[in-house]
């Protein structure tokens, strides 16, 4: 692999890892606070899974760079500042209410499922194998969040209203998820990752009818982030700083500590 392609792959893997880590951390904030006990257990599990998947992607990036896996993952997670994080803004937004949380997780799960299925065909074998493995686990996430979207969308007037509000808010950020790095084209040409437009079309084909069936109105056209308003991966909201100060504070108190 030439150095340019290598760097592009590392950037892509880092963006994937950061998306999962930050979303997993946000989700973990519900631990002990979810509306019902069963959901507390379920959602803490989903949070743990996403963080576990983040580790898988960090380790693949370490392998590409020839770095030691554990050291690399720890350095990336605990010792990068917000501008160096490559997660999409959608996952760093505060957890909001239950409708917002569930809808965000559903939108992420469906996007991820489509991408993972395509990544199983990647010409980079370690990526294809990891995607195939994670796919089997994500089925449970998607089934769970789909049930919640239906339940709340078709529930009461209030639950529907909260879902619609969440949808209007989240859709402005959704597109950014589909473009993990600026060098995607290189990776796409090498058959390592799927083409992002194709990914987006497939995902929307699945989510739009599903949302409509749940009595929700997907925003159209101008409510999506337009091409002139591209949000780059190094751009973050102030919420990421808050999240990172919580996530990193213990590790940074004593960087040389052995755990």
């Amino acid at each position: 692999m030439n150095p340019e392609l290598k760097q592009a792959l590392v950037d892509y893997l880092l963006a994937m890892a950061d998306d999962e880590l930050i979303l997993g951390h946000r989700n973990s904030e519900w631990c002990g606070h979810a509306p019902i006990l069963e959901e507390d257990i379920a959602f803490a599990n989903i949070a743990l899974d996403e963080i576990g998947h983040a580790i898988v992607w960090y380790e693949l990036a370490a392998d590409v760079l020839g770095e030691e896996r554990d050291t690399y993952a720890n350095r990336m997670v605990y010792f990068r500042d917000a501008p160096d994080y490559r997660n999409a803004q959608m996952v760093e937004l505060p957890k909001g209410d239950w409708a917002f949380t569930m809808l965000r997780q559903y939108l992420f799960d469906q996007f991820e499922m489509v991408r993972l299925e395509k990544l199983t065909q990647s010409s980079y074998t370690p990526l294809a194998e990891a995607a195939a493995k994670i796919c089997t686990e994500e089925i449970y996430h998607l089934r769970h969040t789909q049930a919640w979207v239906r339940r709340l969308g078709l529930g009461t007037e209030e639950s529907n209203r909260r879902m619609q509000t969440a949808l209007n808010e989240l859709m402005r950020y959704y597109e950014q998820l589909f473009s993990p790095s600026l060098a995607d084209t290189l990776l796409f040409e090498a058959n390592i990752v799927p083409f992002q437009t194709e990914l987006m079309v497939h995902t929307l084909e699945l989510i739009v009818p599903f949302l409509v069936e749940a009595n929700l109105i997907p925003p159209r056209g101008s409510n999506f982030v337009g091409p002139n308003d591209v949000i780059y991966r190094h751009e973050h909201t102030e919420h990421l700083n808050d999240l990172l100060s919580n996530l990193q504070q213990v590790a940074r108190l004593d960087p040389m500590a052995k755990w």
């Binding site: 257990i41 379920a42 743990l48 449970y140």
Partner: protein, 168 residues
């Protein structure tokens, strides 16, 4: 001479498999890592033992404990140099859990997962047999449980909650 080395090596590999069959799953201490299909390969390369394992769930927090337990067991067997590799291919499936391990899971109070052969419809059928009374009059309460690999059911016949190993 070469034949002798091959015979000796294969005997040593056999012995390592037996030792690994004594290493229990840290979260389900009645079944071994071998019975669970977690240990995929054992190789001896000069003085180094290379054990390849595959995670049940990729984010399973017990993975570190499993690795440490394998190293400890093989060190006790006299191998100072143990390397553990992880692989995702082929992806671990609950279909690999041996018949003997399924019986042990049941005795432990954990309903074994259905054999699904990759068929999602079977995997997500939501029918479980109560490990306490054997009834299938059960209902799924939560697709998630106390660990990544378990889900929670309720038995309507004996009025007991129980867990099932999540089919994967």
């Amino acid at each position: 001479m070469v034949d002798e080395i091959i015979v000796m090596t294969s005997e040593a590999v056999q012995q390592i498999w037996q030792a690994l069959d004594e290493v229990k799953d840290p979260e389900i201490p009645v079944v071994s890592l071998v019975e669970m299909g977690i240990v995929r390969d054992v190789m001896i390369n000069d003085a180094c033992v290379i054990v390849t394992i595959t995670p049940t769930f990729s984010g399973c927090p017990a993975l570190h404990a499993m690795k440490a337990d394998i190293v400890e067991r093989l060190t006790a067997l006299g191998y100072a140099n143990v390397e553990i590799k992880t692989t995702f291919a082929p992806a671990w499936s609950t279909d690999w859990i041996t018949e003997s391990a399924r019986a042990k899971l049941r005795d432990f109070g954990l309903a074994p997962p259905p054999i699904h052969r990759g068929d999602l419809n079977v995997m997500l059928l939501e029918v479980a047999t109560c490990p306490y009374c054997g009834s299938t009059n059960t209902s799924l309460r939560n697709s998630f449980g106390p660990t990544a690999c378990r889900m929670i059911y309720y038995c309507n016949a004996c009025n007991q909650p129980f867990e099932q190993f999540k089919p994967l």
